[in-house]
């Protein structure tokens, strides 16, 4: 018989349970298997009621973020063999309400994300006949890192500020705001400044820096937030020195 590894999975049914419990499954330990494969094995062969989110299996969709042995991980990119001989503890992402088993409620993030206006804002759209908004590779390079975010929310699970104060806008939303702020085609910086420079925006961040450590796409949200703190301070000084000047 092939080698096995114990998978300890959080189970929670909102209709049945008062609080989550742990269920252990023995799954084959295969060299090429990631934690998501093990979860799918359980769902297919052992217990079809196990619920979790997943889609692309290649670190692009950002659906399969979970806590693996206490660390926020994309389960499609986390190999079982790294945890041998086990057990591997799989829990829902921290800092979010658990809906069922490994599924968390992320509406809070989606609302915060739309609040920071993560899209190109133009003062006046030019007609399509005038062509595209051009951008040089250098201009692209200034924000490219932040545009890699896949909204997997590992950074929110790593952020103790978000865990303690759910009003905090959080790493991904702030990094994505910065992604558009730094885009040469965007003209919405001042619109975002009012939202981002509130207490629950950038100033909520205490620079723990773990969001950057756990980010599977190397977005560096902590860096983005600190850089924006610098920008916001400059804007504040400017508004103090030149109260008559436009933003």
């Amino acid at each position: 018989m092939a080698e096995q590894i114990a998978l300890e999975v959080t189970r929670f049914s909102p209709e049945r349970d008062k609080e989550p419990s742990v269920q252990s499954f023995e799954v084959p330990l295969r060299k090429e298997w990631v934690v998501l494969d093990a979860l799918n094995y359980v769902k297919d062969k052992v217990d079809g009621s196990l619920s979790f989110r997943w889609s692309c299996r290649m670190g692009v969709c950002g659906s399969c973020g979970m806590m693996v042995n206490g660390e926020p991980k994309l389960t499609c990119a986390t190999f079982l063999t790294d945890y041998a001989p086990g057990p591997v503890r799989v829990e829902p992402l921290k800092n979010f309400p658990v809906m069922r088993d490994l599924i968390v409620e992320i509406t809070d993030f989606l609302e915060k994300l739309s609040k920071v206006k993560p899209w190109l804002i133009r003062n006046k759209e030019k007609p399509i006949t005038e062509g595209e908004y051009l951008q040089s590779p250098e201009q692209l390079e200034t924000y490219r890192q932040y545009s890699m975010c896949i909204n997997c929310l590992l950074c929110y699970a790593a952020c103790p500020v978000y865990g303690l104060d759910p009003l905090f806008a959080g790493p991904a939303a702030l990094a994505l705001a910065q992604r558009y702020n730094m885009d040469s085609r965007d003209e919405g910086k001042s619109e975002r400044l009012d939202i981002l420079s509130q207490h629950d925006g950038i100033w909520g961040c205490t620079f723990v820096g773990d969001c950057t450590q756990v980010c599977p796409k190397h977005v560096d949200p902590a860096g983005a937030i600190q850089q924006y703190k610098l920008t916001a301070t400059q804007e504040w000084v400017k508004s103090l020195l030149m109260p008559w000047g436009g933003k």
Binding site: G70, E141, V208, Q227
Partner: protein
């Protein structure tokens, strides 16, 4: 615009423990970095006390020296020195993250932002050491 229904009404929320910072090294490091400011403040107070003693004359200065010879004060100051160094090093290392300087279309490597701060630190420390130890 589509609105989300709030069903199911609420999920299971885990409250964060008061000791959340003990479980993970980056969290503990963060808390130590925050606490280090207390020790920085302690060094500032000590410096002010010394200046005050200097103004008050030789007797006050001797009294101050006795205070600094106290083993408890020496112990506190050794711990404070460790935390002040920790404070400085973590601060210097975080500076390149907060400052994205671009030159010639490329981001300046972190070492070029942190490096000069370390050099300045070493130079100032050497100057202070020279002032105090030249006899």
């Amino acid at each position: 615009m589509a609105t989300y229904t709030s069903y199911p009404p609420k999920g299971y929320r885990v409250r964060m423990s008061t000791y959340w910072w003990l479980g993970r090294w980056p969290y503990l490091k963060f808390i130590l970095r925050e606490i280090s400011s207390v020790f920085v403040a302690w060094f500032v107070i000590e410096t002010l006390l010394q200046i005050n003693a200097l103004i008050d004359g030789p007797e006050a200065w001797v009294e101050m020296q006795d205070f600094f010879m106290n083993p408890i004060v020496i112990g506190v100051n050794v711990i404070s020195l460790f935390f002040v160094c920790f404070h400085a090093i973590t601060w210097f290392n975080l500076a390149p993250k907060a400052m994205a300087v671009r030159m010639g279309g490329k981001r300046v490597p972190g070492i070029l932002i942190a490096g000069p701060q370390y050099i300045a630190w070493a130079v100032v420390s050497a100057a202070v050491a020279w002032l105090l130890l030249r006899g």
